[in-house]
Symmetry: C2
């Protein structure tokens, strides 16, 4: 018998604001950070390593200490848990965390409290997949339709997707899963890059990075917009000129606009042949996004990195408020809730292009897209995972993007594991990176 | 010159779960708690007391320590602030907190992070009203229409309510404000009680308390429902029999149902002549509430205690998803955002019946209803403030409810100030109330 014996949580921050990496209209100076959780056990893996589970909640600086405190507050739900029972019922485990009624009040199912649940749940999946000796996407892909349905919490979404509907959907995909797994191993999964388009980069850097993105094989680049219309027009001209006609050009406003302003601004930029407009307004605004989508068509509307739970995903889909659902590995209640969102998207026929970047988000979310292709949607059409090429060196098993495509990860688990030296150096406020600032 | 010199935050918890006070279908054993914030200054009031500002975020137990940490994380925005500048620009102050881009990522504008903003903002209003030597509702009622508009953040709600519309609305009410203030002083504001209907109370206690509520002059009582339909039928029969035909009988499901289940359950109970169904499903579900409202009409739908910001309020109103908006003093970004929600409700012609109870929620929210009557809606028709008669003894200036009506508060500020002995005794985990548990 193996038991979870410890929950350790670390406040890890990277001083990204010093170089304006990650700068956008809403977030001028983020310091990409991780509330990093480790579930320790008294057991080992088949290949003789200590068995543990790692995951993180992503923040952009101030308040990361609060996120750490929230994850620590969940310790009573994990320390002492039997690992065999955990691995056999990852659905029940996640529901117990989500439904802790006292803790739930702090959301409910949103914000810091829910991201804390997500970090713990994701660490539990990492633990389970490492115990099985496979990467998470293979662990998920090996689950039967019934097992997948059992990990989903259908509370408050059953009016849009019932367990039976989900089961039918998964069952229909099951016979062809092996072929799609082989396809993924052969060709990987499409990526697009945001690295060229941060608002803090000057025109020359934008032009150079945009051209490089095409040379590197990315199918799409993305630019941050929304600070100034004339600037956006100029930057989009530069970018389009650098990438040519055959590479996608998406824009991202990071919630800066009100609804009417979004409509006017996007329509003023639409002649640049936009792949999508991302986060045109407040991420809670289902009705606002629906209105924007109707008014800026055919420019697709994308959102999701701040979509705080499956109930919001349900409504965005019911209302026809988006064309692209951008799930985030660390915003919602972990793998379980993201599986629910993948199933909802499949039911409504909407493509999923995950949000990534930040710290470790590419590493974690790739598993969800791979699983989606294998077991849920069965499609890569119009789908791609965001890729930002920084901070990957801090991870033990970083993502591999070759010719603009994610290669399937070969390690075990969720790929969120950081190098111990990274954690030590970037601990806030006492690590070497922060001590003298 | 007076400056904010300190921010102190206390983890105060009351062991309410021992008596099943506050028990409902979703929250079986809450320990009502406060993340209690005090802004200290180096100045004094006109009557020679230390000038400070008190407010709290309400939670139901576990995680109150995380809420405390979140409020403490805002210290950089308040310590060192000039009190004259603060009082002259409470709108700008609140917007700076809400728009701290790094901290905002943790919501955005929802959950623990946003409730932390709310606690600080409310403490600032308490400070400003105490400095002026008046209760908060009078402080608000004395502000000009332009000053009120300036405290509201119209970001992401301007498609439903523009600053000019708000100004017109407030200006139209201004000439008659004095008459309504006199009316409030004479007759107070209607209250309803939830004290009879907690799910953990047996039938005899329910019957006794329901009859007492009528004798005490309450216009409405409220029962918790949703655990078992037969039990609900029995309890509603007992309650209706005890209160007669002329007292309102509302029910509250505390989010326990899915959308279709809510419709069936409420329709099965509708013959009890229901004043409203409260929180029939997930509080994020705008479209679900709209569907429920259409399907259970004429039973009114009420929600709001977990409505996390003005963008959600906007959508519930735009979608016709509620009949009664139940603002909460401590859930959103403080007085400023609640003023925005009052203005939105007035624009859409929806009545506001605040959520209260908990710890100090009655004390704080009464000011918002009084202000609404004086300056915004000008109406008490169908409006009432929730009242739960417990834990008030811990406050220096508790609410006064006489013959089922709130008397206007006479003290200075927000009325959230607890007795020092209460704080000391209920500090978690080291206060006397908790030390030996």
């Amino acid at each position: 018998m193996t038991t979870i014996t410890t929950l350790e949580v670390f406040d890890v921050r990277f001083p990204t604001s010093r170089l304006l990496d990650g700068s956008d209209a809403m977030n001028p100076d983020p310091d990409y950070s991780a509330a990093y959780a480790v579930l320790g056990t008294d057991g080992g893996t088949a290949d003789g390593q200590a068995l543990d589970g790692h995951a993180l909640a992503f923040t952009i600086g101030r308040g990361n200490d609060v996120q750490v405190a929230a994850i620590r507050a969940m310790a009573g739900h994990v320390v002492g848990v039997d690992v065999d029972e955990l691995a056999a019922d990852l659905g029940g485990f996640a529901r117990r965390l989500v439904r802790d009624s006292q803790f739930r009040w702090l959301g409910p199912e949103k914000g810091i409290a829910h991201m804390a649940v997500g970090a713990i749940v994701n660490a539990a999946w990492d633990l389970a997949a490492r115990r099985a000796g496979v990467p998470l996407w293979r662990f998920l892909a090996a689950m039967s339709p019934r097992e997948i349905v059992d990990v989903v919490d259908f509370r408050h979404i059953s009016d849009a997707l019932s367990p039976d509907e989900a089961l039918d959907l998964l069952t229909a995909m099951a016979p062809t899963r092996a072929a799609r797994m082989a396809e993924l191993e052969a060709v990987g999964y499409p990526a697009y890059t945001t690295g060229a388009g941060w608002l803090g980069y000057d025109d020359a850097k934008l032009e150079r990075l945009a051209a490089e993105a095409v040379a590197q094989g990315y199918c799409q680049i993305k630019l941050k917009v929304g600070a100034d219309l004339a600037t956006d027009q100029r930057r989009l001209r530069i970018a389009r000129s650098a990438i040519g006609e055959h590479t996608g050009l998406a824009i991202d406003a990071n919630q800066i606009w009100d609804v009417d302003e979004a409509i006017q601004w996007v329509n003023a930029l639409a002649h640049h042949d936009l792949a999508w407009i991302e986060e045109p307004t407040n991420p809670d605004d289902v009705l606002g996004h629906a209105r924007i989508r109707r008014a800026v068509a055919p420019v697709p509307v994308a959102t999701g990195e701040h979509m705080h739970n499956r109930v919001m995903a349900k409504q965005f889909l019911q209302a026809g408020a988006l064309d692209v659902l951008q799930i985030d590995a660390a915003r919602v209640g972990g793998v379980n809730e993201n599986v629910a969102m993948l199933l909802l998207a499949a039911k409504f026929g909407v493509r999923v292009c995950p949000h990534a970047g930040g710290v470790g988000l590419c590493e974690m979310v790739q598993h969800l897209s791979l699983f989606d292709f294998v077991s849920v949607s069965g499609s890569m059409e119009g789908r791609m995972i965001e890729h930002v090429d920084h901070l990957h060196e801090h991870f033990v098993d970083p993502v591999t993007v070759v010719n603009g495509r994610y290669r399937v990860p070969a390690g075990h688990g969720l790929n969120a594991r950081m190098h111990p030296a990274t954690i030590e150096r970037h601990l806030f406020p006492d690590g070497a990176e922060w001590r003298n600032t």
